[in-house]
Symmetry: C2
Subunit: 210 residues, 2 copies
């Protein structure tokens, strides 16, 4: 099974690496990181580079497509070569998935029109403007199209996907292998759980960076 | 604040990227990925390369040290240049931390002798043989030395660390920023929670790869 994770400038690393860490452990799976050009791609803070080992043009028909998010998505909403690659891959994929604002790229490609989908909680309005029906769930399944909420949600999404692909025992073995028994120190992981002052703080910081 | 994450051949990507995603969001923090030699380093399955932007020798005194785990640790338990770098960094650090089998390297460097520490659940015995007192908790704090359990636990550890470094409001803002409201699809994330057949399956697979 060929799994492709497209990278671009200013992606969010955990969006890509969470699903990679789960899906690479599926029996027979090969995860490939791809980009417009082969080589290192930097995250939005420029502190980390992941290598794209193949060009997108060389992996046109993955079985599974996982589109990560990041601040870089905003510059790609009209990038026709990337959107065409996504459309072509989606037409033949078994699963088309995204994490965080990766769903904005699926939406810009026309894949989410009229479908329920999710994204980072700060990007819900933009997702709606791009034609999807935004819903505040962590993992949203619409047939073969699966979208996940912000950043860390890609781990949950990938485990759901692993169960669909290889069965629940394999998915549970992967979950145990990565010891995914999360114990967040605070109840601050969602807009609704976090204290109001924290939500306001993050909103104002995001507006400064927008 | 200078945060260094050392890489080596056959590390586990999520061990490194989970803490990076949290700690890079601390105000004033700079995360640097380092290795014996600058350039790309591949994970244990070879499907992903992260770039080491600096040589370990060029970042001898980080404020925070985060040692990731991976199958590659086993080949480094007597690697004196790396262990010396860890010892030197630890002598001057504000925080010395590890994720998963990264704690085996801290132990091999002599840092965990007599201290409580944790690691991936499959490596607990080896951690004890290296002089630590293994405990099955997700995050173990012993003064400035903080060790985390397997792979995904680095996210929890980094949020605990973020609260120590910058206060609980900042840590909560980071948790909300990465939307860390985990919803694992199964109760299979620890040796004690997972069904016995899943634990046996993962143990036998690990023995095949050891």
């Amino acid at each position: 099974m060929e799994i492709v994770i497209p990278l671009y400038d200013r992606f969010t690393a955990l969006d890509a690496v969470g699903p990679y860490e789960v899906l690479s452990r599926l029996p027979g799976a090969r995860v490939r990181f791809a980009a417009a050009r082969v080589g290192p791609l930097r995250t939005e803070n420029a502190m980390l580079a992941l290598t794209a080992d193949v060009a997108l043009a060389d992996v046109p028909e993955p079985d599974v497509l996982v589109v990560p998010g990041g601040l870089g998505t905003r510059a790609l909403l009209e990038d026709e070569p990337l959107l065409d690659w996504i459309r072509h891959a989606h037409a033949r994929s078994q699963w088309t998935t995204s994490v965080c604002t990766g769903s904005l790229l699926l939406a810009a490609a026309g894949i989410l029109t009229g479908l329920e989908a999710t994204t980072h909680w700060l990007a819900m309005d933009l997702l709606g403007e791009l034609g999807a029906r935004p819903v505040a769930r962590r993992v949203v399944e619409q047939g073969k199209v699966v979208t996940a909420a912000g950043v860390s949600s890609g781990i949950d999404m990938a485990l759901v996907l692993a169960a669909h692909i290889a069965g629940e025992d394999v998915a549970q073995a992967i979950q145990l292998g990565i010891e995914y028994d999360p114990q967040p120190p605070f109840a601050a992981g969602s807009e609704h759980a976090a204290p109001e002052r924290i939500v306001s703080l993050v909103r104002s910081l995001a507006q400064q960076h927008a």
